[in-house]
């Protein structure tokens, strides 16, 4: 076990270093701000302090976990990055804090399906009748992430987070296209949930711990939460620097 997680950590920092290199972000530089936080391994105390310093105003105390185990978190971070990868347009899911977003969401109403009808009896229905399972989202995540891991070990003899990007894509594709058989959950159902929550984490208000520094919005010139568009509504395309809900409170 210990060996495994060590190996895992090593791999993570490797892939992170690789990302930093690919995306042209200099580790020592000040420019990256909050984006850097999620790129560095948890346990590396020295770099963590450095991050906090570098972050300045965007220092964030909510980059901690409410639901996931460390291992689950790492899988989610890697998997969502494959769904929404960093590229020359901007950061990917990992950098945007999507795994934190999902963790925080699972800890509340959404994770418990608490505003949804969960009364028995449970019958298998037609596809057009929608989700009919008894499992709640946090349970589905527990099972789904474990099955990511199992499938990775079966297919590539490695943990999911240790796989190459191509191999990770391969695993995700097997889930997305129901190429594996599970008795507990629908593989594509879980994949779709992961995909939609990735997009939620990329583009929801930074209030929810994703879309870090509004980088998700900036990438597509989305102005976020503005009070009014009367000045531009009948004009040609206009880029407006984004605002978040925080701005409405006058901070």
């Amino acid at each position: 076990m210990a060996d495994k997680s060590k190996q895992q950590e090593k791999n993570e920092s490797l892939s992170r270093r690789k990302f930093l290199k690919n995306s042209g972000i200099a580790v020592g530089g000040l420019a990256v701000g909050g984006a850097l936080g999620s790129l560095l391994p948890f346990k590396d105390k020295t770099t963590n302090t450095q991050v906090v310093k570098n972050q300045g105003a965007s220092e964030s105390y909510n980059l901690a976990l409410m639901y996931f185990t460390r291992e689950q978190f790492n899988i989610v971070e890697a998997a969502t990055e494959r769904i929404f990868p960093a590229d020359d347009k901007g950061p990917g899911a990992k950098d945007l804090g999507v795994a934190y977003f999902i963790d925080h969401q699972l800890s509340g109403d959404w994770g418990f399906n608490s505003r949804e009808y969960m009364q028995p009896p449970f019958f298998k229905g037609e596809k057009v009748q929608g989700y009919q399972g008894r499992l709640r989202r946090r349970e589905i995540f527990d099972i789904g992430l474990r099955e990511f891991q199992n499938h990775s070990l079966t297919k590539f003899k490695k943990n999911f987070v240790e796989l190459s990007e191509e191999e990770q894509n391969d695993i995700l594709t097997d889930f997305a296209e129901d190429k594996i058989n599970l008795t507990t959950i629908s593989p594509s159902g879980f994949f779709n949930m992961l995909r939609s929550s990735t997009l939620e984490g990329v583009y929801s208000d930074p209030l929810y711990s994703g879309n870090r520094n509004m980088e998700g919005w900036k990438m597509r010139n989305y102005p976020g939460s503005q009070m009014a568009y009367t000045q531009v509504i009948d004009k040609e395309f206009t880029v407006i620097p984004p605002k978040s809900l925080k701005d409405h409170l006058g901070h």
Binding site: R82, G130, L172, R195, V202, N221, V232, T238, L245, H248
Partner: protein, 571 residues
């Protein structure tokens, strides 16, 4: 034993658009009304933090909590209905103002053809045009009779619009001018004009300018903030019952609103209602509210459910086609559309308003010849600019994977380069589409859920294809570099949002054998019960419903006032 309260003139069940209008009109004339609303109180100040796509659009903050009550659904009678466990196809309003709080505000009048659909279809195409199981019937009212009530609703709400050349005659222009036209809307207008169609600005309950209505209610202009449908308006610019009719009713001193009051039964003695029984959801206490007149304005599903539960009216039997409560459930054919990708242009589509759009009615109702077509009616076709919020709008050209590198690149690239033209198709009733009580699933009190038995028919598939083709033609003329369209309508699927335009179940008509209410929304079988809402629609038109719901509510209010004086069946 339920606690019994003193009797009032009128008890109103559900305080959304229909309930709010009834309350305002009756209290202005001196009637004492109690409004029972099961949700919470709402006010404009609640929307300070409303520009939050996750909370409102995806987690449905303003909608009915499905853990307490939902509906069940099946495609046909041979299947087992299962609960709608999560939202999808439509959203249910809850709280003061109902869905009126988080609607778009697209405010149409149904066409003259709609109200006399059976007669007019037979007149033009012969009886054989109507498939055997299609249960269309005339509504027992004409457009001309309803016109003054449309006018009243539009003036109360301050609807912004311009004359639609293909609609019924108007007694007066819209109270406020149309909303602004955007470059995207201009493109649609030009293309439609080139194609010899008749574009007009969509009639909108998002005010184009500041407006004071005949009741003296003043509201500000819309700011095109793009957080409109599924959200409340932080400016009061969107007409919603909480900023229009409800304060008018309150001001009379004759309207008492009780929130957290969930009505479970209409109580009756003989052929008349005596009041309602409800639960105060903060205490769990059962309370009886006696009243001379009971008005149900609790939206389609609960209007039908309450009557069936209370044993009022004759339940519909799909086998014999007899009975009326639950009959002619209809919906909307929403998927005929075209999405255009523009390589050379970007648009301010992050901005918008719930009703901002440009429409053509050339293929709606019977505005075109159906002789060689395998369907009747049609749909409005429109471009909408409601604001493309980023979680829900990641539109990529067909063939792009749904995740990964290419998906990201394309979803970002096209974020501001996509325009859509969509059809809103009418929905015809069929003998085997209906609402009844589910035999298995229960709500939080142990009462049965309402069950929907419904699927798309050949009529709908043909209509969707037809609308898709028309949308594609317009999009092509608009100059899109690539156009994607619907391929097949497929079966009705409750998991994807289409529209909250559920209709029927307590339909209006001239004949007590085939309809449940007369054209004052008064029940044939219980003269002091009025059921107001889209439940009265004998079919659904190619438009959003609320303009017509509003008109019916104003007419019902008139009916209730004269019933209060004279008694008896009004029509």
């Amino acid at each position: 034993m339920a606690k019994k309260l003193p009797k009032v003139d009128v008890v109103i069940v559900g305080v959304g658009w229909a309930g709010g209008i009834i309350a305002a009109e009756l209290t202005k004339q001196g009637l004492n009304c109690v409004g029972l609303e099961r949700g919470i109180e709402r006010k404009t100040e609640d929307y300070f933090m409303v520009h939050d796509e996750l909370r409102y659009a995806l987690r449905y903050d303003l909608m009915q909590n499905l853990s307490k009550e939902t509906i069940t659904f099946r495609g046909n009678e041979k299947l087992r209905a299962l609960p709608m466990r999560q939202y999808g196809s439509f959203l249910l309003g809850e709280g003061l103002g109902g869905s009126g709080v988080h609607w778009n505000g697209q405010t149409y009048r149904f066409l003259p053809y709609d109200f006399e659909i059976r007669t007019k279809t037979i007149e033009r195409y012969g009886e054989n045009k109507i498939p055997k199981d299609m249960t269309i019937q005339d509504w027992g009212i004409t457009y001309d009779e309803l016109e003054p009530y449309f006018d009243k609703f539009e003036k109360m709400a301050g609807i912004s619009g311009e004359e639609n050349p293909l609609a019924g005659k108007r007694s007066s222009p819209y109270p406020t001018p149309p909303m602004k036209t955007t470059p995207a809307l201009e493109k649609f207008k030009k293309a439609a004009t080139n194609l010899k169609l008749h574009p007009y600005n969509r009639p909108s309950a998002n005010l184009s300018e500041a407006y004071t209505n005949p009741d003296g209610v003043a509201r500000a202009a819309c700011q095109y903030c793009a957080y409109c449908e599924r959200f409340g308006c932080e400016y009061g610019a969107k007409a919603d019952p909480v900023v229009t009719v409800i304060p008018v009713a309150k001001k009379t001193g004759k309207f008492e609103i009780r929130t957290h009051s969930n009505v479970r039964r209409v109580l009756k003695s003989g052929n008349k209602a005596t009041g309602v029984m409800y639960v105060d959801t903060t205490t769990g206490e059962e309370i009886e509210q006696p009243a001379d007149i009971v008005v149900l304005t609790s939206y389609v599903f609960n209007n039908v459910r309450l009557l069936l539960q209370s044993g009022i009216g004759r339940p519909y039997d799909p086998v014999s086609g007899t009975g009326v409560i639950g009959k002619n459930y209809a919906y909307q054919v929403q998927k005929g559309n075209a999405t255009g990708f523009f390589e050379k242009e970007e648009f301010n589509t992050y901005a918008g308003a719930g009703s901002l759009g440009m429409v053509v009615d050339d293929f709606n109702g019977d505005n075109f010849d159906h002789s060689n077509l395998n369907f009747i009616h049609g749909g409005s076709i429109a471009i909408s600019q409601t604001g493309l919020r980023p979680i829900s709008n990641n539109i990529v050209p067909k063939g792009t994977p749904t995740w990964g590198k290419e998906f990201k690149a394309n979803s970002v690239k096209y974020a501001n380069r996509v325009l859509s033209v969509g059809g809103q198709g009418a929905s015809m009733p069929f003998r085997h589409h209906y609402l009844d009580l589910d035999p298995t699933y229960k709500d939080e009190f142990g009462d049965p859920l309402i069950r929907i038995t419904y699927d798309f028919e050949e009529q709908d598939r043909q209509l969707a294809k037809f609308l898709t083709d028309r949308c594609r033609e317009i999009m092509k003329e608009m100059g899109a570099n690539k156009i994607d369209t619907m391929q097949e309508l497929g079966p009705y699927d409750i998991t994807t949002y289409q529209s909250t335009h559920n209709t029927g179940g307590i339909i209006m008509g001239a004949d007590p054998n085939t309809s449940a209410v007369n054209n004052f929304s008064q029940m044939w079988d219980a003269e002091n019960v009025f059921v107001v809402g889209a439940t009265a629609f004998a079919h659904n038109s190619g438009y959003n419903p609320t303009g017509t719901v509003g008109a019916f509510a104003y007419r019902a209010a008139e009916g209730i006032l004269s019933y209060k004086q004279k008694g008896g069946i009004l029509a």
